[in-house]
């Protein structure tokens, strides 16, 4: 082992953004032909480290060695030349270009396109054979699903003859089946001698595919261990620096009367595509109904209609009284008046105004309340006091109400939204992706708040693409696929495998199903899913 030089060796890498030390004296060795995982909470500095390796940022200090040779990487060009390819979390593809055009972009052979395109077409065929990476070279990116788009990103790197492949949170947008497929491809790449760095915050993925794993915490590398010699609890502890409950502690639910009753709900989007195709569901007081599904199968539309900012047809009653779905007499305001609180899926776009301060964000939607107004004017003192109080109770850090929303971390932003919505004592809480982009410590807190609200006898409709989260929080689980509910299960009588099949639109969960069948089903709705992300 001492004979071969590591594919990548970083020595003493440090990088600060203003006062924030994003990376502090990081050293790491990755041997060729291995899969090396880097795990850590959001904001631990994983992405910064990889951005340095890919020439996006310049490190303040430290050295990079590629295959034993000291290499300067001032820009992406240099990274590509050094044989490094990167698959970003958010794909860097041109939507209205074909697969082929995206692959050659920046790696063309000459001034004219034709020779480059025909060469790439040939190369693509051989790459498909070597690694099982099949794509239609002439399809437009906007017409293919997320899984396919990711393949294009991998192909882009391989076309540039990358020997080192960095994948940043690659499974965030994939179904379990698609993720399995990806891992098979990664395994094949490894066996062909490629070196892979996998950045993730999912312990399961680390355990499943990596050979070695490095843990990052607050800008530092806390440990590098052989995957075979560690365990998920140990890694979780290394990540957060203390023991974490991966399961939420909760008593069995005691469901009461029906709060939300949805019957035959349909939604047609602006393009005339039916996004919800007859949804029936009920949420009772004192229970959490989890809605699982791959992003883009109608969950967002459901939340929007119930939240009052999209139109639909069908019947929805709240506490036995119908809700207006036509959009004529309803909006977010009237829904709140009826006791519906909504923590939207995309907190940065729908839950907060990022440039506004925390105390201002604290009253959106409730700014007409008497307690926030005196006469014609808003009572700033009262709003601020309220914000301070909420921030203290929800442990928002830093507890500074005059800080702009964008300056809080994802978890703290979510706490601001959650505090605002929960505190009004709603009958029904709609909550979408409660912990997306939130670090483990805050996840725990947010989960506790949701369960506490349930125990107060409130009805909660939870939408999440994280199956683990759905399983941990829900009392009942409904799975959405292609605008319909594929099935409902009691949370303690199902598992990820069964839900995964339902998520792929397969209701007959008893039998074995081929990967091809699952993929075919997903491809059918894949186009939609990609737009959602």
């Amino acid at each position: 082992m001492t004979d071969t030089a590591p594919a990548i060796e970083l020595k003493g890498i440090s990088k600060a953004f203003g006062p924030v030390q994003a990376n502090k004296d990081i050293s790491i060795r990755v041997m060729p032909g291995t899969i090396h995982g880097i795990i850590g909470e959001n904001g631990a500095g994983k992405s910064t480290l990889m951005s340095i390796l890919y020439g996006f940022y310049k490190a303040d200090a430290g050295e990079i060695f590629i295959s034993g040779k000291k290499t300067d990487i001032p820009d992406s060009q240099a990274a590509i030349a050094a044989g490094i390819g990167m698959v970003f979390q958010h794909f860097k593809l041109v939507e209205n270009f074909t697969v082929l055009e995206n692959i050659i972009l920046g790696a063309e052979d000459g001034r004219l396109l034709k020779p480059s395109l025909s060469k790439a077409r040939k190369t693509l065929v051989s790459l498909a054979e070597d690694y099982g990476l099949n794509v239609d070279p002439d399809a437009l990116i906007q017409d293919i699903g997320v899984g396919m788009q990711q393949r294009v990103e991998i192909l882009k790197a391989l076309y540039r003859q990358a020997d080192i492949l960095i994948l940043d949170e690659p499974t965030g947008v994939l179904t379990p089946a698609e993720a399995d497929q990806l891992f098979r491809i990664l395994g094949r790449l490894r066996s062909e001698g490629k070196t892979i760095i996998l950045i993730t915050h999912k312990l399961r993925e680390i355990m499943e595919i990596t050979d070695t794993v490095s843990v990052m915490r607050r800008g530092q590398m806390t440990a590098t261990v052989k995957t075979a010699e560690t365990s998920p609890p140990e890694l979780a502890e290394l990540m957060v620096g203390r023991k974490v409950l991966l399961r939420v502690n909760k008593k069995p639910a005691t469901p009461g009367e029906v709060i939300l009753d949805v019957k035959g709900l349909r939604v047609v989007d602006s393009k005339g595509v039916e996004r919800l195709r007859g949804i029936d569901l009920q949420v009772r007081a004192g229970e959490v109904l989890g809605l699982a599904g791959v992003a883009g199968n109608g969950q967002s539309e459901l939340l929007e209609v119930l939240g009052g900012y999209a139109d639909g047809t069908g019947s929805v009653t709240l506490n036995g009284t119908p809700l207006d779905l036509s959009g004529k007499k309803s909006d977010g305001q009237s829904r709140r008046a009826r006791g519906v609180a909504h923590v939207p899926e995309d907190r940065q776009r729908e839950g907060l105004i990022m440039d506004f301060q925390a105390w201002e964000n604290n009253v959106f939607g409730y700014h007409h309340d008497d307690r926030f107004n005196s006469g014609m004017l808003m009572d700033h003192a009262a709003i601020r006091a309220d914000a301070e109080d909420k921030m203290a109770r929800f442990d928002v850090r830093p507890p500074d109400p005059t800080l702009a929303a964008k300056n809080f971390s994802g978890g703290n932003q979510q706490k601001i939204v959650l505090a605002r919505e929960i505190e009004r004592n709603p009958d029904l809480l709609l909550i979408g992706q409660p912990t997306r982009g939130v670090d483990i410590g805050a996840i725990e807190f947010i989960h506790e708040q949701i369960i506490a609200l349930r125990d107060q006898g409130k009805a909660i409709l939870l939408v999440s693409v994280e199956l683990e989260e759905i399983l941990a929080l829900s009392d009942r689980i409904a799975v959405m696929f292609d605008g319909q509910i594929m099935g409902e299960r009691a949370a303690d009588q199902t598992d990820e495998k069964e839900l995964g099949l339902l998520m792929a639109g397969i209701t007959d969960t008893e039998n074995e199903h081929s990967v091809a069948e699952v993929e075919a089903n997903l491809a059918r709705v894949g186009g939609d899913a990609s737009k959602e992300v």
């Binding site: 996006f56 990274a79 939507e95 270009f97 055009e101 995206n102 396109l113």
Partner: protein, 322 residues
């Protein structure tokens, strides 16, 4: 309306469409690369002035053209600096260029020539003269085809032919070359270009530079070919009509040709109210025709004639992010 009138009308259409076409293609390069350019008008105006001024002083229209292109490219560089390097607001930068050009041209004209903000009339070698294509006089009397060739195709200045040749050339550059692929990509998703190891800034400057070049030719055409000398505000909103044509054309070169020809036809009709009256029997106010390009653009934008999807990254300064 007889055949000769029709030919004359089309001839005038071609002449009026030329500056629109050049400016429209200028906008096309810039916006396809993700840089909105509402300064087309100002660049044209500055180019019109400096072309006429240099042509008047030196007596050479070619030096005039070079000066016009130079002036327009300087303004392009300002736009680039503001919106690409310093990531400023592209619309504000464009508006500033328009105001700058409107004021500066008249001011310098008065200082240099003291003729009330215009340049002296150009004649002889200081103007682009119409080119008579071979055999134009010979075939003049051939029925139908004769006048078509003699009046409509022959007898334009070289800049008109250059403008029309610029259409296939633009198409070829955009869709058949590496530069074109990257240019279109940078207008759609600059991050894709950046991570592919190509300079976003370089590409955008190149696009803005090409826009400057084309606007320069358009401006020179106005003052040294279409008319004989510079007068105050002579671009007369053509830069904005070119932008309207660009939307109408859905940012595509061949469509840009048809859109600017159509708008050129409106312009030609504006000067020939008698033709309209004889064809449809109603007297139409010239101003209404002048407003048509804008009205049609509103209709397009409202989505009545298919969707016009602008380049996705248009107007957005590129900031690197993880």
């Amino acid at each position: 309306m007889d055949y000769i009138t029709l030919i004359q009308l089309l001839d005038s259409t071609v002449r009026l469409a030329t500056p629109l076409l050049l400016a429209c293609l200028a906008g096309l390069f810039s916006e396809r690369a993700g840089v909105f350019d509402i300064g087309l008008e100002g660049k044209m105006l500055a180019a019109a002035f400096f072309s006429a001024a240099l042509a008047s002083i030196t007596g050479s229209v070619w030096l005039g053209l070079a000066a016009g292109i130079g002036a327009s490219m300087v303004l392009s560089a300002v736009h680039g600096l503001a919106s690409i390097t310093f990531r400023g607001n592209q619309l504000i930068s464009g508006v500033a260029i328009n105001f700058l050009a409107a004021g500066m041209t008249v001011l310098i004209a008065q200082d240099w020539f003291a003729q009330g903000g215009r340049t002296p009339s150009l004649f002889g070698g200081a103007r682009f003269e119409p080119i008579t294509l071979p055999f134009a006089k010979t075939v003049e009397d051939v029925p139908f085809l004769g006048p078509l060739y003699e009046e409509l195709i022959s007898g334009h200045s070289i800049l008109v032919y250059a403008a029309f040749l610029a259409v296939p050339l633009t198409w070829w550059i955009l869709f058949r070359t590496r530069f074109g692929l990257r240019l279109r990509a940078v207008g759609e998703n600059p991050a894709a270009v950046d991570t592919a190891g190509v300079s976003v800034v370089g590409l955008r400057y190149a696009a803005v530079g090409i826009a400057g070049l084309l606007c320069g030719v358009a401006g020179a055409y106005l003052s040294t070919a279409l008319q004989a000398g510079f007068v105050k505000d002579m671009s007369a909103g053509r830069g904005f009509i070119a932008l309207a044509a660009l939307i109408f054309a859905k940012w595509r070169p061949w469509y840009a040709l048809w859109a600017t020809l159509l708008f050129g036809l409106f312009g030609a009709l504006e000067t020939r109210p008698d033709v309209i009256q004889s064809v449809i029997g109603i007297k139409v106010q010239g101003q209404l025709l002048g407003a048509l390009p804008y009205l049609m653009t509103v209709v397009i934008l409202a989505g009545f004639v298919g969707k016009a999807i602008p380049p996705r990254a248009g107007g957005e300064p590129y900031v690197k992010e993880r």
